[in-house]
Point group: C2
Chain length 237, copies 2
């Protein structure tokens, strides 16, 4: 058995992470100001290169941890891009992951080191290379997925109210949902466990706080269901 294949093309493999967060009002992205050439100083996704003895997802988690200090987040491979001239320096293919993180849990020091910022999706600046396209695809995937699976919870604090959850879904789909119907739909899933506590930050009638029913949640993640058919007619990205 040969020690290597005959084929001669070996390319650099990059990893790029699209990091979604939610601040209670809008969807945000964690973006960095690139500090090396080319395109130094421009906005970019957080990325890095694959090491020789590192699995793809391990590398993606390394990059995510490096920026946020978090290491147990929702992380999913999105796509791999490999257009010949996508990177002007040399042929590079990039395996893109997207992650959902609770903004409250982030490591602000790590973020500062990388000159990163949480930026509202609506205010996203132009990004380098094909990163804009990656973000568009990621949002599409997030919408697609969140319509079928209750993955949105990853973006919320450990305890949250139903109105907060609704605002999240409205941010993801850039739409308005009926409060009464949303509540009924969510409660029907049995995914939420009431804590008995109330959200003290709200100024008028305080909403109930819930936590996720972890066991049910795992069932839903594995299955395939119409989570919110109301969103079927969602706006295109």
């Amino acid at each position: 058995m040969p020690a290597a294949y005959q084929h001669t093309t070996r390319v650099l493999v990059a990893l790029d992470c699209i990091i979604f967060g939610f601040d209670g009002e809008a969807l945000k992205l964690l973006l960095i100001k690139r500090n090396f050439e080319p395109e130094c100083g421009k906005w970019s996704l957080m990325g890095g290169f694959l090491n020789q003895t590192e699995d793809l997802e391990t590398a993606a988690r390394r990059i995510l941890f490096d920026l946020t200090g978090l290491n147990n987040n929702y992380l999913e491979q999105l796509q791999t891009v490999g257009t010949v001239n996508r990177d002007p320096v040399e042929r590079t293919i990039s395996v893109v992951y997207y992650s959902l993180v609770n903004i409250e849990d982030q490591d602000t020091a790590a973020i500062a080191v990388h000159q990163a910022s949480w930026i509202r999706l609506a205010n996203k600046p132009a990004l380098i290379f094909d990163h804009d396209q990656m973000v568009a695809t990621a949002l599409q995937r997030l919408r697609y997925k969140a319509a079928l699976h209750p993955i949105g919870f990853e973006l919320l604090p450990a305890t949250f109210t139903i109105p907060q959850l609704q605002k999240l879904y409205e941010a993801i789909y850039d739409t308005q949902l009926d409060r009464r119907n949303f509540s009924r739909k969510i409660m029907a899933t049995d995914l939420l466990l009431g804590t008995g506590e109330k959200d003290e930050r709200s100024s008028t009638k305080k909403a109930q706080l819930y936590t996720l029913n972890a066991e049910k949640y795992r069932q839903y993640l594995g299955g395939n269901l119409t989570f919110l058919p109301e969103l079927a007619a969602m706006k295109p990205v």
Copy 2:
């Protein structure tokens, strides 16, 4: 600007194609008997390596064309796998695509050259490396996708009957569907155009032949809809 990045790890990039077909009764996979080391003689997905001046999808289409003679098929990137030791020869990451092809259109000569065979999914032999896992993921994706988008048509001849379409869906989901409800659901989409012809091959009452309404079809592909909610409670892969 440097001519290359400092980072030293450059790896071999493979492409593997999972090719689904349908023979009127069951879902099939086009598999090859591998004719080179390692694992020579064992069943495998059709694959190849990425060339220096070739986009990823271009490479996948080249590989698909090489085996089937077809070059205008449904082809979608599935995932990229890169576990460190997945290939015993050297570090290789593989970008996996899956394709849906109409078995009738295939180039039988090309298939023979590669010692390939259409094999029922139910009779799939063990494949090399992590190819079994790839196939499982592809089936999952196909089910996921076909529940929301009418992509199944790619697997059928240009004209087909509603009972044929139903058999296809039953094969994809390994389940039984109600004939009356299925028909109503499909007709409600307005995706089918009656040809006025009938399927002469059938032995009892001849079913109507339809073609796909290409324009409507493109609309559905772009959108996001609950195509067959009845399938929500589908069996796990």
